[in-house]
Amino acid sequence: MTTPLLEVRGLKMHFPITEGVIARRRLGEVKAVDGVDLTIGKGETLGLVGESGCGKTTMGRCILRLETPTGGEIRYNGVDVAKLSRKDLMALRRRIQVIFQDPYSSLNPRMKIGTILSEPMKVHGIVPDSRKRADRVRELLTLCGLNPGFADRYPHEMSGGQRQRVGIARALALEPEFIVCDEAVSALDVSIQAQIINLLEDLREQFNLTYLFIAHDLSVVRHLCQRVAVMYLGRVVELASCDEVFENPQHPYTKALLAAVPVPDPSVEAGRLVQPLSGEVPSPINPPPGCVFHPRCPIAVEECKRERPEPREIRPGHWAACSQIA
């Protein structure tokens, strides 16, 4: 395997739930991320999938240090991100960038596209010359498949797909090596989604980028990623190469997730019996004891209610957190 660019060990992000304005009382905590281990190699794309509330976005935010984790460590090139000073954090942010889900709310409506793209360069003091910056903006726009003339437009003058291209151009402005794509194609129509996925792939190749691709659409993840981590209620329940997860899923949750996706082919669907997973995702405030998946699990036994299964390497490179897998 390639040397890990990012190494996450026992990551925990617990948000406190408080009551009262003056005398703050702590009522409990939301265990958004509760002990996650993973690594991402240079040039690799790791997919992070799961349903809403499973902690995948919080994971991404911790890696970007937009949240300060409450436990565990995140090592980027061997350096613990959580312990960085302001100045070192600034330097880190040049190398780690993010593309957000919603192309409508992630661009400042009062800024022209040119300003949006040149701001990160200004903040980080690269390309100090304003004329050169304008050149660089045009270059970035072209790179992302937009007309360089868009630099003078405002976000509202553009479609969702075009805005997402601006979001990607902004992430590239600082020539990062690692990009967190948080549901970067989820808000787009299918025909546009394919354009953006192709763009992300082209850029990955051209700049040797590493992606953490957070998404809930399994078919997109399968297309784009080399390895996949499946999260449920703040934990990674399965982690393996893309082919392994999709061809040979081991964890009952992964199996259920894959079975729930209808395929765009009526003849395949006509012969497919779907037994949807019963129940709903429990609250991360008070997660069930033992295996967090046991209340919905079709193969749960008594033991699952008591003991929390740790991820085991079932075969080389294929990890799953389930005591019932042989």
Binding site: S52, S159, V190, H223, A256, P264, P266, E269
Partner: protein, 334 residues
């Protein structure tokens, strides 16, 4: 006789930028007990078309400018407002995308179900409560007695959508219109809700119009499909025919652009290049031609109408649909 017949429906919105022809002359039918899917991307007019059936288009800026909607022998577009209110939630039930915003946050679940029953059935209190309880159990909500006293915010998204379905079913409708019923939900919950809707509509013989952009959902649940693009139906037919032998270049391109879990991984996706057209500036030609691989000069001259093409009951609005075998398509991956 079809349950619902839509003829040349046109809905437009007057905006600062000009008149948006959101729905531009669509015609289709729905047979009793059948599930018809309306697929298309944002702005294709699929939601506006469905809301127009129930006259739920805010006016101004919207206006239904032409067409007929024949349901149960009556044209819904010429009914009085009172008569229309009896149809909505009575013979035609509705399920919307966002269950949080379509339920009233200050009324209990029970009240929202019984309100429908009182309005349409004039049933008394005890009868309403009994029916509400029965409906909740019917849509798979356990502990119905307690749930009826709760407010929407106390329920999860999937649970709220079940309540919406219960309300839609309350007055034994003949047709349910579901506008992106599972788009806001997670995949495992989406599967629960769709399987539930399919089971209930089959069991009760209710016809369903399901509006979605998810091609997988359409493949699994629809009997027939209308594909919309820029306010028009560009292809219609049985689901199996549309998927296996699409006749319109847009349908072909749409099916090809999605990555699929049931096929080997492709090296590269095949997107539809370009953007959907600006609906205020449609010209006389085919609105897909700018993005179409097969466009010829004739496509700019006049807009094609739906004509029979492919299997029985299948038709496409394309000047070239006759001579487009998908195999002959340029750049098609085998």
């Amino acid at each position: 006789m079809p349950l619902l017949e839509v003829k040349n429906l046109c809905t437009e919105f007057r905006t600062g930028a000009g008149v948006v022809h959101a729905v531009d002359g669509i015609s289709y039918t729905v047979e009793p007990g059948e599930t018809v899917a309306i697929v298309g991307e944002s702005g294709s007019g699929k939601s506006v078309g469905a809301l127009s059936l129930l006259r739920l288009i805010p006016n101004p800026p919207g206006r239904i400018v032409a067409g007929e909607v024949i349901f149960g022998g009556r044209n819904l577009l010429t009914l009085s407002n009172d008569a229309m209110r009896q149809v909505r939630g009575g013979d035609i039930g509705m399920v919307f995308q966002e269950p949080m915003t379509s339920l009233n946050p200050v009324l209990t679940i029970g009240r929202q179900i019984t309100e429908t029953l009182e309005q349409h059935r004039g049933a008394d209190r005890a009868e309403c409560d009994r029916r509400a309880n029965e409906l909740l159990r019917f849509v798979g909500i356990s502990d119905a007695g307690r749930r009826l006293k709760q407010y929407p915010h106390q329920l999860s998204g999937g649970m709220r959508q079940r309540v919406m379905i219960a309300i839609a079913l309350a007055c034994d409708p003949k047709l349910i219109i579901a506008d992106e019923p599972t788009t806001a939900l997670d995949v495992t919950i989406q599967a629960q809700i769709l399987e539930l809707m399919q089971r209930l509509t089959h069991q009760l013989g209710v016809a369903l119009i399901i509006i979605t952009h998810n091609l997988g959902v359409v493949a699994r649940y629809a009997d027939r499909v209308n594909v919309m693009y820029a306010g028009r139906i560009v292809e219609t037919g049985r689901a199996a025919d549309i998927y296996h032998n699409p006749q319109h270049p847009y349908t072909m391109a749409l099916l090809r652009s999605v990555p699929r879990l049931d096929r080997p991984r492709q090296a590269r996706l095949d997107p539809i290049e370009g953007q959907p057209p600006d609906l205020t500036r449609l010209d006389g030609g085919c609105s897909f031609r700018a993005r179409c691989r097969f466009a010829v000069e004739a496509c700019a001259a006049a807009r094609p109408a739906l004509v029979a093409s492919g299997a029985e009951g299948q038709s496409a609005a394309c000047w070239r649909s006759g001579d487009l075998a998908p195999e002959s398509e340029p750049g098609r991956a085998a």
